[in-house]
């Protein structure tokens, strides 16, 4: 089979993206903190074939509901390859598929292969997507979401309705963030009515189906959460003290760095052009998605990282329109011969503003050190099965995964009645100077061990717990990470 020049370029982009990602994934030690939750779920599915909805370790034992499709897929692959390897390879392969989808989408809206290639390249090197060591459902969600959108745009062609249904099904059972697309569809309908764009019948039918199907799946999986938390389930019961971490206010500087400056500026320009000046209705769906992402992020209804990732990919797609617009603009001016240099200029601009920030972002991922992992493994071999261990909030998943012991708290807040109180207690254990306060908390929650990792030492600027005495807190592991056994119980009487 003879590949065309464009196809060769596209393949090259894919290979470069994948190789870069894999090199970084294997260079940076371990996985990001939240990945260990998903690793544990995959292992559980591997053992018992059902997700761990009744978790005996998290929060000392709790009910947990999540969408398990991603975990089932990995568990299936785990039959052939070890999980440690899969956790680094699969997410990176999935994200590396994005340039193919972005190319197809960009070509669809711009009718220009060079422009589409630029978009594909940008999507391969978006800094915000360079969490190469993250093992989360987001890596499956993003390519499938954009594939579903591609199918939606090609709904008139045979077979695409079925592809859309399959991909939409995968999305709804992978992540609740599919809400982003549903809201995007709604805005698309509104924009179409305002701009008097004729909505195709199959488009409307698929939108109606998608809305009902999405809600139905959410109700099935999250029925209890909905009833117990009502509308607040959208905020995932995140303690207010750390709400800003999950839904931070968007800073333009941050957004510029993570989305990459050139596509960001080009994207804003294109959105403005399409909304207020141009009659081109083809990219309406993407404009709608930009609005829905911005709106939901502003309302703190979706996580910042997800919103930015989605936003960045759409901007990469819209960059193709910017390129075409620039070509047309130059052709109309006296410097039309300058047109042939446009491609070169864009390459020169893109290389330092995408690849370098991406690599920098990947190197700065928040992952535990090997020494920390060793300490959590040590706990597994040297503590009683019913021990309850306290680490930082983000280390909660390491306690359940490596130590296989109960934790006081981790980042899965749903169904936890008193997450705010627990977070205050957890913070107090690291910050307090008073032994009685610490003992009060450990006694109240039945905590048996405290872990002080280098990460925690940096965060709280301490080398040891300030209240620590050898009588009540015996140091039983003294490496870079320190582990203390709690030997006293505070009797309130």
């Amino acid at each position: 089979m003879q590949l065309s020049r464009t196809q060769k370029w596209l393949l090259a982009i894919f290979i470069i993206t994948l190789v870069t990602r894999l090199i970084l994934a294997f260079t940076v030690p371990n996985l990001t903190y939240d990945s260990y939750f998903h690793l544990r779920q995959v292992e559980e599915i591997g053992h018992s074939s059902i997700p761990l909805f009744e978790d005996p370790l998290s929060y000392g034992g709790r009910t947990l509901h999540y969408l398990p499709f991603f975990h089932y897929v990995i568990a299936l692959l785990n039959l052939f390859l070890p999980l440690g390897l899969l956790a680094k390879i699969v997410p990176n392969v999935l994200i590396s598929l994005l340039p193919f989808i972005v190319f197809a989408l960009s070509k669809k809206i711009s009718n220009n292969e060079t422009a589409a290639l630029f978009s594909a390249f940008i999507s391969g090197f978006l800094p915000v997507l360079f969490s190469t060591n993250a093992f989360t459902p987001l890596s499956l969600f993003l390519p499938v979401a954009f594939f579903a959108l591609y199918c939606f745009l090609n709904i008139d062609q045979k077979g695409y309705a079925l592809y859309f249904l399959i991909s939409f099904f995968i999305l709804t059972v992978t992540s609740s963030a599919t809400f982003l697309i549903i809201v995007g569809f709604m805005i698309y309908l509104i924009l179409s009515v305002i701009e008097k764009k004729k909505i195709k019948k199959p488009e409307l039918e698929l939108i109606i189906f998608s809305v009902f199907f999405y809600i139905w799946i959410q109700f099935i999986f999250f029925k209890k959460v909905l009833i117990s938390q009502g509308i607040h389930f959208i905020w995932q019961n995140v303690p207010t003290q750390i709400l800003t971490q999950y839904f931070p206010q968007i800073s333009i500087l941050n957004a510029l760095l993570l989305v990459s400056i050139i596509p960001f500026l080009a994207g804003i320009f294109v959105v403005y052009q399409l909304l207020f000046q141009s009659q081109n209705q083809k990219p309406f769906l993407f404009i709608s998605l930009v609005i829905s992402t911005t709106l939901l992020s502003w309302l703190r209804l979706i996580e910042f990282n997800l919103a930015l990732s989605f936003f960045a990919i759409i901007l990469a797609i819209l960059f193709s329109l910017f390129y075409v617009y620039m070509l047309e603009l130059l052709a109309k001016t006296k410097i039309s011969e300058f047109k042939k240099y446009l491609t070169l200029i864009i390459i020169i601009l893109l290389l330092p503003t995408t690849i370098l920030p991406s690599i920098n972002f990947a190197e700065k991922q928040n992952t535990p050190l090997n020494a920390e992992i060793d300490a959590f493994k040590w706990l597994n071999e040297n503590t009683a099965k019913n021990a309850k261990i306290v680490g930082l909030l983000e280390e909660g998943n390491l306690i359940t995964y490596y130590s296989q012991r109960k934790n006081l708290m981790d980042d899965q807040f749903n169904f936890v009645e008193n997450s705010e109180d627990l977070f205050s207690d957890l913070t107090a254990l690291f910050a307090t100077s008073f032994e009685t306060q610490a003992l009060d908390i450990t006694s109240q929650h039945g905590v048996t061990h405290l872990v002080l990792t280098p990460h925690a030492q940096r965060k709280y600027e301490i080398n040891n717990f300030r209240y620590q005495t050898s009588r009540c807190f015996k140091k039983i592991y003294n490496e870079e990470t320190k582990i203390y056994r709690v030997d006293c119980i505070l009797d309130k009487k």
Binding site: A161, L165, K201, P202, E205, L206, I208, F209, V211, F212, F213, I215, W216, F219, I220, K223, L226, I227, S228, Q229, G230, I231
Partner: protein, 448 residues
């Protein structure tokens, strides 16, 4: 060709059969649901009557109290069930009279009967259950040709105005809409009587809205899937949006559009009007459903799957509501504890508890609660007491208000664990009874 495949078309034999026999099916469905609720509560040893409003009426109505003293108060469950089935019967008569399209009637009543708002209203004693019956009876009688019937309409009309000012307002508007819609001149006497009745009630101190009987939350009270006391399915809400959008310019439905701007703001003031509000939303939902599936779809399998999903979604909301019905009912343990108070405390004891338990205390313990949700006299003081953590202040407030008994259900222990609960360790408080997670504490005043 597409029409042949229409899932709700007359050529679909199953749908056609259901459409023809809709009266039987709707009655059957309603009967199953309304009898299922007391049956579930019976097997869970909970009270058969759900919802706090039931206990408001039992504790305030001499007739009901004499009924409960002669029989068990559980007998009262038959009243809302009869009201529910009678309302449905009259409704069928009304739509026949008004020549409503049969598909719309079927889907509207299906959505209504399946809605938690209907189940709640007719599994408990509520003002809405009486009000809707009287409204339909009034309209039905007014529509009759014979004068005797139109005169008889005055009886349900007057009865319908007796609950609160809001009920009179709705009835007034409905009669105006009816006379415009049917191009019939409605006798002004009806309107004048409603006005007079409302004015009399206003001067007698009747509230604009009855209640509240539970802590109101606009969203969960509207969407049952978010854990409200009643409400409707989220799917029905979405369908109603579709219904509103599709029929926006339909002149025949202007009356329904007229009610939207009236009921929406009033609902946010008091969710007590959820049932009439639900009826309006479900009407639009039925319109949306019929219009959506009567139109020709390009993707026929998607149409069928979507219809199936919708029915499943509505079924899901109903089942999930029934599944948690015991949470809306006073538990056996609660009734035991309150009944204990009736026999073991002094008749003029005033009981401190959360305002939401006021009518349960009146019904089962036959004692006077310090506060209820709808009597605002002691609300601020009650809250101050329950959130108090200063023992001296707490004791002096109890003495000032002559409170001698504290009733603490399990939910209160959680809510006020950082409040007055910690003060009960003081020697002047004594646990005098506990059953399950329900406790009764006595407070000994200084004088004793």
């Amino acid at each position: 060709m597409n029409q042949n495949k229409n899932i709700i078309g007359k050529k679909n034999p199953i749908f056609n059969h259901i459409l023809k026999e809709q009266k039987r099916y709707i009655f059957g469905l309603a009967s199953v649901l309304l009898f299922l609720i007391p049956l579930i509560n019976f097997f869970k040893s909970d009270s058969l009557l759900i919802g706090p409003e039931s206990y408001y009426f039992i504790s305030h109505s001499a007739l009901l109290q004499s009924l409960t003293s002669s029989f068990s108060y559980e007998v009262i469950i038959i009243i809302p069930i009869i009201l529910g089935l009678s309302t449905l019967y009259l409704f069928f008569a009304l739509v026949e009279q008004m020549k409503f399209p049969d598909k719309l009637t079927l889907f509207f009543l299906f959505l209504l009967v399946m809605s938690p708002a209907f189940i709640y209203t007719y599994s408990s004693l509520t003002a809405n259950s009486f009000f809707i019956l009287f409204v339909i009876a009034t309209l039905l009688l007014i529509m009759q040709e014979k004068k005797i019937f139109t005169s008889l309409a005055l009886i349900p009309l007057i009865l319908a105005t007796l609950f609160d000012i809001f009920s009179s307002l709705i009835l007034f508007i409905l009669l105006i809409i009816y006379s415009i819609n049917q191009q019939k001149k409605t006798s002004y006497i009806y309107l004048v009587i409603i006005l007079i009745s409302s004015l009399i009630q206003y001067f007698l101190g009747q509230p604009f809205f009855l209640g509240p009987f539970h802590i109101e939350h606009a969203i969960p009270d509207l969407i049952s899937d978010f854990g409200g006391l009643s409400g409707i399915s989220f799917f029905a809400i979405l369908l109603s949006f579709i219904g509103i959008m599709i029929t926006w310019k339909d002149k025949e439905l202007y009356w329904a559009y007229f009610l939207i701007p009236l009921l929406v703001p009033l609902y946010f003031i008091s969710t007590q009007i959820i049932f009439p509000f639900s009826i309006l939303i479900l009407f639009f939902a039925a319109v949306g459903l019929v219009k959506l599936f009567e139109r020709t779809w390009n993707l026929i399998p998607i149409k069928n799957i979507t219809f199936f999903l919708l029915i499943l979604g509505i079924l899901f909301s109903t089942l999930s509501y029934i599944d948690r019905i015991d949470q809306l009912t006073p538990s056996g343990d609660m009734i035991e504890t309150l009944t204990w108070m009736k026999y073991n405390t002094v008749h003029d004891d005033i009981i401190l508890s959360d305002a939401i338990y006021g009518d349960y205390i009146r019904t089962f313990a036959k004692r006077e609660p310090f506060d209820t949700l709808y009597e605002k006299e002691h609300t601020a003081l009650n809250e101050e007491l329950l959130k108090n953590i200063e023992i001296n202040k707490f004791i002096s407030l109890l003495e000032e208000q002559d409170i001698s008994i504290i009733y603490i259900p399990k939910e209160m222990k959680k809510i006020y664990k950082g409040g007055f609960i910690i003060l009960l360790q003081n020697e002047r408080f004594k646990l005098i009874h506990s059953h399950g997670d329900y406790e009764v504490w006595a407070f000994s005043s200084k004088e004793v």
